[in-house]
């Protein structure tokens, strides 16, 4: 059975990744694309908005509790 075979290869519980091919994990970086900029910048903007709102609504924040 395929399941048995998989157990032999992967189900050992060891930390090793030897049984798997790793060559393309670290190399072959694609060029940076505009959607990545949007994702990164968008995420920072949302974080900043939540930060501002949070500082006002959380009673123990530095704004409400004082520093």
């Amino acid at each position: 059975m395929a399941e048995e075979k998989k157990k032999e290869v992967h189900g050992t519980g060891s930390l090793s990744a030897d049984a798997l091919e790793a060559e393309d994990v670290l190399s072959g970086a694609e060029p940076w694309e505009p959607w990545e900029t949007k994702l990164v910048v968008g995420s920072f903007i949302v974080a900043f908005i939540i930060l501002l709102i949070g500082l006002f609504i959380v009673p123990t924040s530095i704004i409400n509790a004082g520093g």
């Binding site: 091919e21 995420s43 920072f44 609504i57 009673p59 509790a65």
Partner: protein, 538 residues
């Protein structure tokens, strides 16, 4: 291999997450029976600080002779079976504890299709080794603080003042020695060395603790009960907001560092971004799946995560206690720990260690004039991590949509919405259920600590203490030991990880930890731990 449709009930009998809920919930319910006068949890056996020989004039109160180093908690806290639990003694208590946990854990192992025999043997070794570490770590030289010495009328003597932290450190060291120098033994124990399972179960017990804290305080002072209930809500709210902010800064930050500075491919950067910045292995697996990375990416990142998490566990509690922010910022340090330390096991363990170190330090610094209730700092470290755990499912879903419909548009592919549920950390349900149940007792029949509710609060306390104190600490100890056993530092040397090791090191110490500290400081500024010195509260 079955190919049935995987609905929302999938994994209820086959996943550790659910088994943490079942086992944690089972013992919580056993504890709750004390409200009706039935004590079924008093057997859990707990350590005391001990010495080989009591000095003249000393009282065996906080520090006892070695043969009294363990006692079933029911012998002290039970309202209905105190005599019985006393009669079983320490050895009987440990054996009952062993049997009481071996049965449900082996049933869990069976349903999760592990090798039950191997689990049973490994568990037996880990269990008794844990109790041995607990015993040695509670020797007065390691554990006794000024307060313990005073209360037992001991002469002034030098001790390391580590409180319960000494046992945790010892369990971790023993685990690491096994994991790094006795590898055949580590392999033999690996079936039962499950830090995540143990910590998830411990977190359900921690839910009992959070709900029970106001009850405990109210039995001494109603005002204190209200204050602590308020503090747990504050931690809940501040932790949620801090987590969302941190997450949305961490992930894109690490992603950009990986892509721009270390020139890693997108999928590797995405998985690494989650692994380093969010909740370690679970995030690495969830993100790997979301971006359809080959499993090798998640496996490599995860191998790094567990090693770095233990490094953080070793460094951060000491750093936060003795360098910054110190005891005056204890509730800034706890959430910062939750945001910094990856994997639930390492974080909760680091939080627990921080709790012990901070309380021991404040007691020492103030010569016993300031004492904090045990466990609140741990809760502060775990709450942020729970929010992170819940958020990863949502973030992975967003990434899956992005990858499916924008990055790699494969015609015909759809992302099922049930993915969010499949990635949801189910043990969190157990934590919140336990919290709400005890809080309901406090505000409902307990009349928020008013005299008319005191009888029921005291009855609830008798069943809650063995769970939130005894079982929780035992499962933390099991986590420390198991974490050590599965951590092999040699893995960091493996050449194939290459620059991932450096991304991790730089990302963690120069970006994640400083940002975590800053965000935690911004949101937890106004929190204060209640001083319980002189109130007779332990």
């Amino acid at each position: 291999m079955s190919q049935e449709k995987k609905g929302w009930t999938y994994g209820m009998l086959t996943q550790e997450d659910w088994w943490a809920v079942w086992i944690g919930g089972f013992f919580m319910i056993l504890g709750l029976l004390s409200v009706w006068g039935i004590d079924l949890v008093g057997w859990i056996t707990y350590p005391k600080i001990w010495v080989f020989k009591m000095p003249e004039g000393a009282v065996p109160k906080k520090i006892v002779p070695w043969y009294q180093a363990f006692y079933p908690l029911g012998a002290k806290y039970s309202l209905t079976a105190k005599k019985f639990w006393k009669s079983i003694g320490p050895i009987g208590g440990i054996l009952i504890t062993y049997v009481a946990f071996t049965i449900p854990l082996c049933i869990g192992a069976y349903f999760m299709r592990w090798n039950v025999r191997q689990f049973f043997l490994g568990w037996t070794v880990i269990f008794f080794l844990t109790y041995l570490c607990w015993f040695i770590g509670h020797h007065a030289f390691f554990a006794a603080t000024t307060v313990h010495l005073k209360k037992s009328n001991f002469p002034d003597m030098f001790t390391l003042s580590l409180g319960g932290g000494a046992s945790f450190i010892l369990a971790l060291i023993v685990g690491l020695i096994i994991g790094n120098f006795f590898k055949p033994l580590a392999r033999f124990l690996s079936e039962a060395a499950k830090p995540e399972w143990y910590i998830k179960t411990a977190i359900v017990f921690l839910g009992v603790k959070v709900g029970y804290l106001p009850i405990k305080m109210a039995t001494f002072s109603q005002k204190l009960g209200h204050k602590v209930a308020g503090l747990t809500f504050e931690l809940f709210l501040a932790g949620a907001v801090a987590t969302f902010v941190a997450y949305l800064i961490f992930w894109p930050g690490i992603y950009t560092i990986s892509r721009k500075i270390f020139k890693l491919p997108r999928k590797t950067a995405a998985v690494l971004g989650s692994g380093i910045s969010i909740c370690g292995v679970s995030a690495a697996v969830a993100t790997g799946g979301a971006v359809r990375a080959k499993p090798v990416v998640s496996i490599m990142v995860s191998a790094l995560v567990v090693v770095y998490a233990v490094i953080e566990l070793i460094i951060l509690p000491w750093f936060f206690t003795y360098v910054w922010p110190g005891p005056e910022g204890a509730l800034v340090a706890g959430p910062a720990m939750g945001l910094s330390v990856k994997t639930d096991g390492a974080d909760a363990a680091a939080g627990e260690l921080l709790d012990e170190l901070m309380r021991a330090k404040i007691a020492k610094d103030t010569n016993g004039a300031v004492q904090w209730p045990e466990g609140i700092i741990t809760v502060s470290a775990v709450v942020t991590k729970l929010w992170i755990d819940m958020f990863i499912g949502l973030w992975a879903f967003i990434l899956a949509l992005l990858w499916c419909y924008v990055v790699e548009c494969r015609p015909g592919e759809k992302v099922p919405a049930i993915e969010v549920w499949h990635r949801f950390p189910k043990f969190v349900i157990g934590y919140f259920a336990a919290w709400i149940i005890y809080l309901t007792i406090f505000f409902g029949p307990g009349h928020a600590g008013a005299p008319e509710g005191m009888a029921i609060l005291k009855a609830a306390k008798a069943g809650a203490v063995p769970v939130e104190k005894g079982m929780r600490k035992l499962f933390f100890m099991l986590t420390f030991l198991s974490l050590g056993i599965i951590t092999d530092f040699k893995k960091l040397k493996e050449a194939q990880f290459g620059k991932m090791v450096w991304v991790y090191l730089i990302g963690l110490f120069f970006f994640i930890i400083p940002v975590a500290c800053l965000i935690s400081w911004l949101f937890h500024q106004g929190m204060e731990l209640p001083n319980i010195a002189g109130m007779g509260i332990e």
